[in-house]
């Protein structure tokens, strides 16, 4: 029944008319490659094709343009099936937010809303493998996954509580591919964010549970020292598609 509801919600969410006159965020090419998921018991390499990724996360201003065209997705217009009551919590009303945050990443956005936004731009949400592939780049290296200094930098950000006001996009660093803010600003939705818990057969799921909740289970991981990566997976697993979280934003790819 839950699955049916989900599919129904997906259908409605996807089927609506889509107005788009908003500006497009600049994109850069991410060279494809091989990505090894954190929770892979065997060698389960994922081949990622080359794709284009937004240089910045979507901002409050970007999102306002989207809502102006699609008032169904405003604070009061949104269907409760697609977003919980924290939706755009930081906005004062349907079309008003603190002007100082115009260039800050939009947060308190549900997965449904993020997906819709990207579709209206002729784009889509990145898959987790795509996002992780782009995000393992430091300023100088395409794959800094084994660089202790880079991992520590990311971990330091993860350890800090959220700032009261989120900084503007572009305030962190430009990575090897030319993408800003994959680390250091907000978490970001991915298309298959909850797949770590819902794929596979039930017995597999129970061991996936162990992986996510218990330190002992982490031996199953290929990369047990990548703590920041564990935290991203933990965050993704703790949320549902309608959740709106104060430090989760998004960007699009195509």
């Amino acid at each position: 029944m839950k699955v049916l509801l989900f599919i129904l919600a997906w259908f409605i969410g996807t089927a609506g008319v889509c107005q788009n006159k908003s500006r497009l965020v600049p994109m850069v090419l991410i060279q494809g490659g091989i990505y090894l998921p954190l929770y892979s018991k065997n060698v389960q390499e994922i081949k990622v094709n080359s794709f284009f990724m937004d240089v910045y996360p979507v901002t409050n201003a970007d999102y306002l343009a989207f809502i102006t065209d699609n008032p169904d997705w405003s604070k009061t217009g949104v269907k409760s099936l697609f977003a919980d009551s924290n939706y755009l919590n930081q906005w004062r009303s349907d079309f008003i937010f603190d002007p100082e945050t115009a260039n800050s990443p939009v947060v308190n956005i549900s997965w449904f809303a993020a997906k819709k936004f990207c579709e209206c731009q002729g784009k889509r949400l990145p898959e987790t493998a795509e996002w992780e592939l782009a995000a393992r780049a430091s300023e100088t290296k395409g794959d800094a996954g084994k660089d202790p200094a880079f991992n520590q930098w990311v971990l330091n950000w993860v350890t800090k509580p959220n700032p009261v006001t989120l900084p503007s996009v572009g305030s962190t660093f430009k990575n090897f591919f030319g993408v800003y803010d994959l680390h250091g600003l907000v978490w970001e939705w991915t298309y298959d964010f909850n797949s770590a818990l819902t794929t596979g057969e039930s017995r597999g799921n129970s061991s996936l549970d162990n992986n996510l909740f218990c330190g002992g289970g982490s031996f199953a991981s290929k990369d047990i020292t990548n703590y920041a990566s564990f935290m991203r997976y933990a965050l993704r697993s703790s949320i549902k598609a309608k959740y709106c979280i104060a430090n989760v934003g998004f960007r699009c790819v195509k």
Binding site: L155, N156, P161
Partner: protein, 478 residues
């Protein structure tokens, strides 16, 4: 007929045996029951360390509602040293939870909207998968709920179990939950909550500023901080635990870890009772009790005499160099029979001085030394023998050891240096206008050695210079 008798006999014996084992069920066997009816409802009072919620006096099981909030925040680990702590309730350790055996606990975990991460809670008092972790996986800005029945009495750790678990614990996500036995714990005068934890920082102990979590130190289980109640000094000076002479003190002690086993000891006290590992057994007359990470102990003792009693992890470098130190300050009248205090302090000199044999080899090969050789030898001798009292700068220590610096004691008559070294000096003496009344033992050194060190003293510490030969020492020896 004989056969029948035997049969009856066997049957009777069997019956007796069955009766015997039913009547004398092992008295130490634990009985767990959920058959006690749940009456009423309460919201649990939670406290920050070192406070403990009041004892439970009710005689029935109830529904206990526990509300615990996860807060990530920057706090001090030591004065001037900051750290991003993740907490249950806003402090480290997390709030103390006190429930009763048989209670139905309705647990609410709330993750503050400002949190960066999802969190959960594994309560060791829970019978069920993950100790509640699976049921309480909570995104920022969300609240989860689950219920459990407290089947086993005892003192239990709770902690966050979100991946990577070690880091969540290392950042302070642990606390204690007491499941009080149905009959309650014996009455005591004071109860305190103490929880040890180890922290892994980029900078070494005491390095100021905001310190980041150091994963390498954590994996090596090599912390720079081992502290009670989340901060160096959380239990010292004005934050000391306080009790009065004659009172009985109970410490609920936990160890959040994540890395180190605690050898918990209170200097100057013997635990009258210890509930090892927080269970129901009671051990008596214990000096030091082991508390594993993710474990606990309850210790009880009557404080008979006043003074400062120091809580330590007796892996003692942790206490004096990493912060694992707290103070229980006891006020009240002395009891000189139990503890007299210092009754005397007198000089102890092993017969014949510290060195029992004369350095004859040196005498045999004794040959005149140049002044440079005397200064070099003298410096080495001063450092190994004299410096401990007279100090590296020759200034001595006020009220204890007279200064050699610009000393008016031997300025007019440098021979007094030699005499003091060969004969020792005891009783009142005035040096540079300051009074001293101590003892310097005579030193067993060769004539050449004494000449060297005396020459060194004369030509250092602002003294006016001069030189001694071994023959001077020989002349001055009695």
């Amino acid at each position: 007929m004989k056969y029948h008798q035997m049969l009856i006999k066997t049957a009777a014996l069997t019956l007796l045996f069955i009766l015997f084992i039913t009547a004398c069920k092992n008295p130490s066997q634990t009985v767990k029951s959920t058959d006690e009816p749940i009456t009423g409802e309460e919201v649990a009072v939670l406290t920050f360390a070192p406070d403990v919620p009041p004892p439970i006096t009710r005689k029935h099981a109830t529904k206990m509602i526990v509300n615990l909030e996860v807060i990530e925040k920057e706090m001090e680990m030591m004065d001037g040293v900051k750290y991003n702590f993740w907490t249950f309730g806003g402090q480290v350790p997390g709030k103390f939870i006190r429930v009763r055996e048989g209670d139905l606990v309705e647990f609410h975990l709330k993750n503050d909207p400002s949190s960066k991460l999802p969190h959960n809670i594994d309560l060791h008092a829970v019978t069920g998968p993950g100790g509640g972790a699976v049921s309480t996986f909570t995104a920022p800005g969300h609240e989860t709920q689950f219920s459990f029945t407290t089947l086993n009495p005892g003192l239990y750790i709770y902690h966050c179990a979100t991946a990577p678990v070690g880091m969540h614990i290392a950042n302070g996500m642990y606390g204690l939950i007491l499941v009080e036995p149905k009959e309650g714990l014996p009455k005591v005068d004071k109860e305190f909550y103490v929880c040890q934890g180890d922290f892994y920082t980029k900078g070494g102990y005491g390095e100021s500023g905001l310190q980041q979590f150091d994963m390498e130190k954590a994996l090596n289980e090599n912390p720079d901080y081992v502290v009670f109640n989340g901060k160096v000094g959380a239990l010292t000076e004005e934050n000391s635990l306080k009790a009065k002479v004659g009172e009985t003190v109970r410490l609920f002690v936990g160890n959040g870890g994540p890395g180190l086993v605690s050898s918990f000891h209170v200097i100057g006290e013997i635990f009258d009772n210890v509930y090892p590992e927080g269970g129901s057994a009671i051990n008596h007359h214990v000096q030091t009790t082991l508390i594993p990470p993710g474990g606990s102990a309850i210790t009880e003792f009557k404080v008979e005499v006043p003074g400062n009693f120091i809580l330590v992890d007796h892996a003692i470098f942790r206490a004096f160099n990493k912060g694992a130190l707290g103070i229980l300050k006891v006020d009240g009248p002395d009891n000189k029979t139990i503890y007299s205090g210092q009754q005397d302090d007198r000089i102890y000199q092993p017969e014949g001085g510290a060195v029992q044999t004369m350095p004859t080899a040196d005498m045999a090969t004794a040959k005149p030394l140049t002044k440079e050789e005397k200064l070099a030898n003298g410096k080495a001798l001063y450092t190994s023998i004299c410096m401990a009292c007279h100090q590296a700068d020759g200034r001595g220590i006020e009220k204890a050891f007279p200064p050699l610096e610009k000393s008016d004691y031997f300025a007019a008559n440098p021979d007094k240096i030699i005499q003091t070294i060969t004969e020792g000096l005891s009783g009142p003496v005035t040096v540079n206008g300051k009074h001293f009344d101590g003892v310097m033992p005579k030193q067993t050194m060769s004539d050449n050695q004494i000449a060297s060190v005396a020459t060194y003293v004369l030509n250092n510490f602002g003294n006016k210079g001069g030189e001694f030969d071994a023959s001077d020492v020989a002349r001055l020896r009695k």
